[in-house]
């Protein structure tokens, strides 16, 4: 076909044009969308995705005088809003919220993975009665909203949590009231992250073949040895994905944080951002700078660890 067109010199220009058009408007046999529409769609998708964020960034870099003039792209750029964000008493509160967010997210992730990994191993690799039922119960818990348990949880935080041996009345440990503390938030978030962390990690553990385990048994490893030497190292990507999801959801959580914190002692970034809107009513430059800084860690983390996140999402059952 191509040869035919090349030898036919007089028709070549029209022929090339026709070929060009057909190339742009006809999909390849195994594809669905012709290139022209593909790129049109991709441009729209990029615009839809990036325009709002770009606007947020530009407005945070724009001097106050230009913000309210309705220019989308400021003529001059300034870092003044970022300087103001970290200055003075309100700046100190913002930094405090940032630090709280880091502490809460990191501790939640450590506890969730540290505790959940054992349960996930048991559910994935040991046969015992009611195993499937327990897995589905865990899945169901993962999908329930925080509003379902927030009221009793609040009372629990107010009175402090006691660790006791069930049905005996022996109290091993009684915590002080946990309202307005980072520890309280870590407890609440760990509760909410555990089910999905267990579900996700159990899924990853199940993909590791039985032969590898058997080989480890032959080499004289016990159950626990196999878990630490075979299963965990091989599922590190899955564990990483689980850790990222835990971290991101703790960073983003708002409903518990706003119910359980009243002073700046334990306020996290989402609560601080919510308060911006009341306090700095129309200081949009400052608010946008604060919002941008708060979003930077999760966005950068997600882009860097894109592969794990997509893997985790498609493993199914991650709520948001």
């Amino acid at each position: 076909m191509a040869n035919l067109l090349q030898t036919n010199a007089p028709a070549s220009s029209a022929g090339r044009k026709a070929r060009m058009t057909s190339k742009w408007f006809k999909a390849a046999s195994h594809e669905l969308i012709p290139p022209f529409y593909l790129w049109l769609g991709l441009i729209l998708l990029t615009l839809f995705t990036l325009a709002p964020v770009t606007y947020l960034l530009l407005s945070s870099l724009s001097p106050a005088s230009e913000l309210l003039s309705g220019r989308l792209i400021p003529a001059t750029l300034t870092l003044m809003n970022y300087v103001r964000l970290f200055q003075g008493p309100s700046g100190a509160e913002y930094v405090h919220a940032l630090r709280n967010s880091v502490a809460v997210s990191v501790w939640t992730t450590v506890f969730t993975i540290g505790i959940g990994i054992f349960a996930a191993y048991a559910l994935a690799k040991i046969k015992f009665p009611l195993r499937t039922t327990s897995l589905f119960a865990i899945l169901a818990m993962q999908l329930l909203p925080s509003i379902s348990i927030i009221v009793p949880m609040y009372i629990m935080m107010r009175e402090g949590i006691s660790i006791s041996i069930p049905f005996t009345g022996i109290v091993l440990y009684q915590s002080p009231p946990l309202l307005d503390t980072i520890a309280g938030l870590v407890v609440a978030y760990t509760t909410f992250s555990l089910p999905f962390a267990v579900w996700l990690m159990a899924g990853y553990f199940q993909t590791i073949s039985r032969e590898l385990e058997e080989a480890a048994y032959v080499d004289g490893c016990g159950r626990i040895g196999t878990m630490f030497r075979i299963i965990i190292p091989l599922s590190l990507p899955g564990i990483a994905a689980t850790a990222i999801f835990t971290l991101l959801s703790a960073w983003d959580e708002f409903i518990f944080a706003s119910a359980f914190t009243q002073t700046f002692a334990a306020k996290t970034l989402p609560v601080a951002i919510r308060e911006f809107i009341g306090r700095h009513s129309i200081d949009w430059g400052l608010m946008n700078a604060g919002g941008f800084v708060a979003s930077l860690p999760p966005v950068i983390l997600s882009l860097l660890l894109y592969r794990y996140i997509v893997g985790g999402l498609s493993a199914g059952g991650v709520k948001e």
Binding site: S29, H30, E31, L32, I33, L38, G41, T46, T49, P52, V53, Y55, L67, G70, L72, I115, F118, A119, I126, K127, F128, L130, R131, L135, L143, L144, P145, I147, S148, I150, V151, P152, M153, I155, M156, T191, L194, R223, F254, I255, A259, L269, P270, I273, R274, W284, S295, P298, V299, L301, S302, L303, Y306, I309, V310, L313, S314, G316, G317, K319
Partner: protein, 308 residues
């Protein structure tokens, strides 16, 4: 995941040494998780069911008093409750519908082979990774009358007469609509990634037979892609409904009006007025609705895994 067969249960109960050791190990490994979940998840959920039958007012210090179904009957008689239900239903249907539509076509685009595909696949994760509250703040800024980006762009495109300067967030319908758009922007990538994963599991030769038959784009989508992708689509829809129905955080950026969602109203009853009994009853309405969806979802998952 294999169902434990009857024989399996029996053999692990019958005391063969290896099975008994395994059972003991499983119990030890599960114990911390089970203890925590029982203490901070299952107990609260039961507790809130019990409190929903009590008058429990934390503010006035009155005694806790059993009132039977009164919290529920009062709630169903409450105008506010029905408005919040309607708004939640609107939010759920509107956002999930558009996220599905946009997510489906984005997934089709990103499933093709082209240069720089990874770049486009990566950038769509940016909205999803942003803080929900910042997303609300950002759209609130975009919707500002006069100098906000939406008004400016609409003026530049001459879609809005030069003299007109609407206050977009003035009515509660406006707030619901514009808050939904913010949510659609943030959660469409999630839908896209779920559907993309579904598309990637379909065979590459999917459309070849259809080309021979000369089917066009829409025909191919309707007769090949959609039916093949149906399990993934349904799972994605259910997961998104579960997420959208609980909406609370993004609304607090746009409005102080608690009737904009059931969660918002529940939260207000609990932590503004401290009517814990009534708030528990309201929370249980959400819980029941979501439990029904969860049962549907688990059935779907079981069916899907049987098909594989």
């Amino acid at each position: 995941m294999g169902k434990p067969s009857k024989a399996g249960i029996v053999s692990s109960l019958r005391l063969n040494p290896r099975g008994r050791k395994d059972l003991l190990l499983a119990v030890i490994l599960l114990l911390p998780t089970v203890y925590i979940l029982a203490k901070t998840f299952i107990y609260p959920i039961v507790q809130s069911l019990i409190w929903s039958f009590y008058k429990y007012n934390l503010m006035d210090g009155s005694d806790i008093e059993f009132v039977g179904l009164r919290n529920y009957t009062q709630m169903f008689g409450l105008h506010e409750f029905w408005i919040s239900m309607r708004n939640t239903a609107f939010f759920t249907v509107f956002t999930v519908g558009f996220e599905l539509l946009l997510g489906f076509f984005s997934a089709l685009l990103l499933n093709q082979m082209f240069r720089g595909r990874l770049f486009f696949r990566a950038i769509i994760i940016v909205p999803w990774a942003m803080l929900t509250l910042v997303n609300g703040l950002m759209w609130n800024w975009i919707y500002q009358p006069g100098y906000g980006a939406m008004t400016v762009v609409l003026h530049k495109l001459h879609l809005l007469p030069a003299g007109s300067n609407p206050v977009w967030l003035s009515s509660s319908q406006g707030i619901m609509f514009f808050a939904s758009i913010a949510d659609i922007w943030k959660m469409t990538p999630y839908m896209t990634l779920l559907l993309l994963a579904g598309l990637q599991s379909l065979p590459a030769s999917l459309y070849e037979a259809a080309v021979i038959d000369g089917a066009g784009f829409w025909k191919k989508i309707w007769h090949i892609t959609v039916p093949q992708l149906m399990p993934a689509i349904i799972v994605a829809i259910v997961l998104r409904i579960l997420g959208a129905f609980r909406v609370y955080d993004i609304l607090t950026v746009f409005t102080g009006d608690p009737t904009t969602s059931v969660s918002y109203l529940t939260y207000n009853y609990a932590f503004r007025y401290f009517y814990l009994g009534r708030a528990s009853a309201m929370a249980w309405i959400s819980t029941i609705f979501i439990l029904i969806l969860i049962v549907i979802y688990i059935r779907m998952l079981k069916k899907n895994s049987e098909l594989e």
